[in-house]
Amino acid sequence: MTACRQDRLHWRLLVAISLALLPVAAGSQNSAHAPGERIFSSGYRFVEMSGEELFVNVCQGCHMSDGAGAAGAGAYPSLAVDANLEAGGYPVYLVLRGRRGMPPFADMMSDDQVAAVVNYLRTHFGNNFQDMVTAKDVRDARQ
């Protein structure tokens, strides 16, 4: 809470420094200290690669393990049986840019990761859209 912004700037500075000094570290997998099966990223970006890993470790925080969302003073939308996922470009856009309170993930996920998680959503939780989104689609959407 307090100091969030400074911490964030600090984070980004750290990431920039470690990328500059140690390019190998940026792509390295889980910390050696990661216990159990969980995946823990080692920097600002996510190291989860599959759509399922990304959903379980990231999206589920708000959209819940069954994709049904949740409601308090405001709500997180359900992604289950979701007609908004029919056009693959829409979820790609939302994951990259965010929407309202939803954070943008363009700086935290690669093109492959965004495509993987969007394809996972579009084929799970009662969704059955078989036309796959590609990394190139994501790259184009970043423009």
Partner: protein
């Protein structure tokens, strides 16, 4: 003494002005004499002029909403406050033993801390230059104590350096400075700085480097009692026979650089984290409780706003009471100060112009997680002489923060076992059930404090994206979004004005919430008095 009667010191002059003209005049004098800081807070606001019976609906009883309500009521407005929670304070919040918290998704936690122990899931520290918050604390009798940001005896830890062994902050800081000082001194003595520094200045530079870096007579940074005075001793000096201190061996330049532990040192140098920092005695929510007491009237709790409408005559807000969720209720007023966090406000039917609406939709809220852990004993004090402060680590828990109160006591203790903000790990911890967050914090923390394995008792974990009353930690403005939307967010739109940390240049800080509310009510009052 000579001249004493003639030369009034600046401090005496200020005391005189203060006694004769009151603190506002003194503040003005201090500013013009160059004493006071550049804080935008200029003391309590004055809302002069008659509001002529005007009414204001305040949405949200966090610090922004209660600041607005307090000041408006004092100025003669009729004020009604709606609050979603069953308590005042919003993100100004403390969890103690006996408290329960249900996050989005339905996970319920019962805090089992022993009486008197707590964590602050939201804000937890107050910089000395947050003058508005400090002033309200003074006016509302909130007792403060120091928040220890820098404890030289806390740890810096990297899982990839020193075999994973945590290092004392004092030794990392001393060795980093000492090695850099030695390097620069060598360069100077070899004439390599001649092009950049005059001979005369080089003499001073060498003196400064010796002082700053704890160098010896030959400008070396070595294992001796000079460096030990900064980095600490391998064996501390004692009393009686054979009691002399023994210096430890400094870490070499390459090792200290490659450890990357130096990157944490800026956490203590930053303006927002410099000493003196404060915390309220007894928990951060002492501030929220004091505001609720001073707000000058009742707060309608458990009221979930569902719609905000305005026309040229007034504002109408629909809400439901948590106990009667099917029954729509209405509150009306001439004006509205809305402090509802933007992820929630962006989902409500709301009569504002396109510019404000775009601004409301443009601000994502940050991910953040805090985890409080109770242990059977204060082993960090008993075993490691760490009294308050923060250890930093590259593990996903990022920080371990020790309680800045109740020092040197026997019995149980609660520390902050993780504080994640932004970055991948904050999302990964949010995605776990609360019990797993606590278990992971214990597993990771045991790499720094092996005592965790025997002493841990229970914990609570708050992930801010799962908090029903905010849906996120705080407004995470990008520079582009701020340039495009910030002014539109803060403008009065008809009869509605927004306030909160999101409508400030101090995002995530309580000071931002208060300054935003003060600015909003001053502008609102100007409009009311003018019409």
């Amino acid at each position: 003494m000579h001249g004493e009667a003639l030369v009034t010191s600046r401090r005496d002059l200020l005391s005189l002005i203060g006694a004769m003209a009151g603190s506002a005049a003194m503040y003005h004098a201090m500013t013009s004499l160059g004493f006071a800081s550049e804080s935008p807070y200029k003391g309590p606001i004055r809302l002069d002029g008659d509001p002529k019976g005007a009414s204001v609906l305040v949405l949200g009883a966090g610090l922004a909403g209660m600041t607005a309500a307090h000041e408006l009521r004092k100025a003669g407005y009729k004020v009604e406050i709606l609050e979603y929670n069953g308590r005042a304070g919003g993100r100004n919040w403390t969890l103690r033993g006996g408290d329960t918290f249900t996050e989005l998704g339905g996970f319920k936690q019962n805090c089992e801390f022993e009486s008197g122990l707590y964590i602050n899931p939201g804000p937890w520290r107050i910089p000395y230059h947050h003058r508005a918050l400090l002033d309200y604390c003074k006016r509302f009798n909130v007792a403060l104590e120091p928040f220890i940001q820098l404890n030289h005896n806390a740890f810096l830890h990297s899982s990839r350096a020193f075999g994973g062994a945590p290092q004392r902050i004092r030794s990392v800081k001393a060795d980093f400075q000492g090695q850099i000082a030695e390097l620069l001194a060598k360069a100077a003595m070899q004439g390599r700085l001649d092009a950049a520094v005059t001979k005369e200045d080089q003499e001073l530079l060498l003196q400064a480097l010796r002082s700053w870096g704890a160098l010896d007579r030959d400008y070396g940074y070595n294992a001796n009692l000079i460096s030990a005075e900064f980095r600490g001793y391998a064996r501390d000096p004692g009393g009686g026979i054979g009691a002399e201190g023994a210096p430890g061996k400094p870490v070499g330049l390459s090792d200290i650089l490659r450890s990357r532990l130096w990157r944490y040192l800026q956490s203590f140098a930053h303006y927002n984290f410099q000493t003196t920092m404060f915390q309220p005695v007894g928990g951060m929510d002492m501030i929220g409780k004091a505001f609720a007491r001073e707000v000058g009237g009742p707060i309608r709790f458990n009221a979930r706003v569902t719609q905000i409408r305005q026309d040229d005559r007034g504002v109408t807000v629909n809400y439901v009471d948590a106990a009667r969720p099917r029954e729509q209720r209405q509150a009306t007023a001439d004006w509205c100060v809305c402090t509802i966090p933007l992820p929630i406000l962006s989902q409500l039917p709301l009569d504002v112009g396109a510019k404000m609406k775009s601004a409301i939709d443009a601000v994502p809220y940050a991910a953040s997680v805090k985890i409080g852990l109770q242990f059977k004993r204060r082993f960090w004090e008993e075993d490691e002489a760490i009294y308050g402060g923060i250890s930093y680590t590259d593990l996903p828990i990022r920080q371990i923060a020790y309680p800045n109160t109740g020092y040197n006591r026997t019995g149980k203790g609660v520390l902050l076992g993780a504080y994640l903000y932004d970055g991948a790990n904050a999302y990964e911890f949010t995605a776990m059930p609360p019990a797993e967050r606590v278990a992971r914090a214990v597993e990771f923390g045991a790499a720094i404090h092996p005592q965790y394995n025997d002493e841990f008792e229970n914990g609570v974990a708050v992930a801010w994206h799962r908090v029903p009353f905010t849906l996120g930690c705080s407004g995470d403005w990008s520079e582009e979004a701020r340039a495009a939307h910030y002014d539109d967010l803060c403008q009065i739109d008809g009869r509605i004005v927004l306030a909160g940390e999101h409508a400030s240049q101090l995002p995530a800080w309580q000071e931002g919430a208060i300054l935003s509310a003060l600015d909003a009510v001053v502008r609102l009052h100007e409009r009311v008095v003018r019409t």
